[in-house]
Each structure stands twice: as C-alpha cells, then as structure tokens.
Amino acid sequence: MKREQLIDRAIAAGIALLLFGWWEVASRSGWISTLAFPPPSRIIANFGVLWDQGFLQKVGYTLGRFAAGAVIGAVPAILLGLLVGSRVRLNRIIDPFIAAMHPIPKIVLFPLFIVIFGVSDVSKLASIALTVFFPAFINSAAGARSISPLYFEVVRNYGGRRRQAFWYVLLPGSAPMILTGIRIAANVGLLVTIAIEFTMTSNGIGSIIWLAWQTMKTEDLYAGVVTLSVIGVLINSTIRYILRQVMPWQAAG
C-alpha cells in the first residue's frame, strides 16, 4: 500500500514534468506564443523577482480574505445544511429559497452589497461567504439525507437526544459529502476572492494578475496562477487527510 502510493505520486509528478517540459520546449522553439505562454523556466525565475517585491505578503492578503469569507460562509452552511437535510419538511420549505438564491450572481450584484454593508471589507467578505455558502449547504444537506435512518434509530434507542444525534450520527455520517462540498466551496470561494481582487482591491493575487494583464507581464500572471494551483492542491490534500481520519473505511488513497 505504502509503496503503491509512492509509485502513484511518482507517476503524477512524471506527468506534470512531461507537460511542463513540453511547454518549455514548445515555448522556447516558438510553436506556441512565448508572450501568451512563456517557458516555465522563466516563470520560475520570475518568482525570485516577485519575492523581493513582497509576493508572500500579497498572497497573505488573498489567503486572509479567502479564509475569513470561507469560514463565515461554510460554518453556517454546514450547520444549516445538516439541519435542513435531516428534516424532510424543513427541506421542502427551505430548498426553493436556496435554489432561487444560488444562481444570483454575487460579483455582478456586488454594488448592492455596498449599499448594505458599506464600502468596507465587509462587502467583499460577504460576497466570498455567500459564494462559499451554497455548495457547502447543498452537499451538507444531501449528506444528511443520505444517512440510513437505522443509525438515527440506534442513537434514539440508546436514549440519545437530538443534539447527541448530531455528533454521533449526523456529522460523521455526512462527513464525506460535507468535505466534498467544502472542497468545491473552497475552490469557488477562491475564484471569487480573485475576481474581487481583480477590480476591488489593490493587493492580493487577484491584483497581481490584473496588473500583469495591464502590463502584459505574463510571467507575473503565471506566478499568480501557479500560486493558486498550489493553494488548490493544499486545500485538497488537507480535505483528503481529514477524510481519511474521519472515514477510515472509505479512504481512497
């Protein structure tokens, strides 16, 4: 098992190297536009330059915004999702509202947030939180619905009250779907954070990408993109780690 995992990691790394290698060659030899797709080596070298300009601090701004918004959105989403998902009638009443609010574009309606929350950072966090809310809610509710009623019977049988059923059944039983929802929500939230930073802030990865566009510094652009990818991979590993701890019998790699 252990060895197989190492081999698979190596295969993934190999594929990544191959892709980047091909990109490097294709860019250097001019098959693909060097402007649009600068060779990876140059992107990496450029990281050094950015580093000296406080790159890490800018990433920190993005992460701070993202984390705050994500937590504000995800925690109530999970709790409400589990509650609604575990009660058929509540679900029937609440679900249409969720369905109606989900497709309302948060970025496009950002100015309305300004009216409600003012021009402060609260408006930005609210958009991120609201974006994170929906996938987390929907998957949590579906997770709650997927739990066999037998398990709730078991807890009631041994004198467990509703609050206890939450900790003993609802939360562990829907953990895989909650975590899958969190994974999607985190990524969507990250995307919205970047979109907000694009036009609404003068710091963070989003503004790096925006500036890079303005000045056609594609290495900077890819620095932003690579950073986002790394964040994405870290989010995902964390979630898989938690999943392995919580659901030992369903751990896939």
Binding site: L150, Y151, E153, V154, V155, R156, N157, Y158, G159, G160, Q164, Y168, V169, P172, G173, A175, V246, M247, P248, W249
Partner: protein, 258 residues
Amino acid sequence: MTFAVENVTKEYGGGTGQTAALEGVSFAARGTEFISIIGPSGCGKTTLLKIIAGLVAPTSGRVMLNGAAGEGKVRTSLVFQDHGLLPWFDVLKNVALGLKLQGIAWPEARERARHFIAQVGLERFMRHHPHELSIGMRQRVGIARAFVADTQILLLDEPFGSLDAQTKLVLQQELLRIWRQHRKLVVHVTHDIDEAILLSDRILVMSGRPGSILEEIAVPFERPRTLEVLEASVAGQIRRHIWQVLEAEVKKSLWVTT
C-alpha cells in the same frame, strides 16, 4: 413495572403501496419476564420490537407502561437484527455508545464496554471498525452494546442468528445471567424453537403477515435450565405444537409443497 402492548396495528405506506405489517397485536408482561416471539419471516416481529422501543410509530394501538401510554418512555435497548453498528466508530466506541449517550464519563464507559467486549470474545478487535469484522462478529458487538447499556427492557431481534452453536450457547447463558441478576423484561425474537424453549418463560407465536399473536405458550421448566430440558416430553410437545402452527402459517404464503 407492568407492560402491555394494546391492539397495535402497523401499515407501511410508501412508493410501492400499502403493506399491512401488524394487525391487532396485544399482550401483557410482568416487568421481569423473559418472553420469546416466534413467527414466519416477514410477519412483523422487527416492526413490533421497534414499536415497543418507540422507534417506529404504530398506525393504531399503543404500548402501556405502568398503566400509561409509554412507547419509548422507559429506556429500552434493542439488539438490531441488522446489527446497527455505526460504521464511523470502532468496536469500543460502538459498545460504549449507550453509556456515552447517558453522559457517563469516558474512562468508566470504556472500562464497562471493555468488559462486555471481552465477554463476546472480541477483545483483540476493540479498535477495529465494523467493516473489518465478520457478520457474526458484528452481531456480537451489537449484543455487547445492548448488554452494557443495562436498561429496564431488553429487546433482542434474532440476536444469535449468525453465531455458531457454541458461541450462541455462551451468549445465551450470559443473557440469562444478566436477566436474572438485573431483573429486567426481555422480549426476544427468534426462529429457533429450541432456543425459545430453553430461554423463555412464555413463547408468543405470531401469524403470517399481517402479524398478530396466535398463541401464548408458557414454558413450565424450572430454572436454571440445562440443554437436557429440550429432551423432556413437554419440550417435545411445545416444539411440535409451534411447528404445526408455523407450518400452517407459512403454507399460506409459500405455495411450494415440501
């Protein structure tokens, strides 16, 4: 404690139409009795136990405790026919479940759970999760969980069905010991007529679906009993009688001739 099931009826609704599971089930019991229930497959035994435990609502009728309606009022522990182990907990946590839910601190709950886990021969598997156990082992975990909870009513739904004869014997004795010592009401569903004779004060025989009580048979043997009671002629009579009642009931649904 007095206990009575009064005219309980259950209909399941749902996508595929109505299914009548129980019809007018009534019986009474003393608070320290050992009752076994025997009936054809699908006649509503599990449904009846769940109604007594307050897990399923009867369509009509009620369960009386000390003269008042009380489904689920007095604490019961049900050994589920399909084990009902929580897949996210290991054996230890599953067995300690009832204690934890009663607010007993973990060190004490752990020790008490450990005792019964050893009793069912699974000490080595304390840290295993249900999916790593054989079916019989899961059933034993379910039994240990009910034993450790020590409630006034113990409901057992074919608890020994997946166990080998020897293990079954050991656990039957343990069940009797707990019952005698803690003076509780046991309602025990089984398909094994001999087991019912060996263990119970009274045997209720149920009709085919929709289930109702056809007969109540008192088992007259002194306790403690040994396997020898099964060779007594009274046991033979009881066995034959139940056999015939069941045969008639089963033939109604199974048209194949033996």
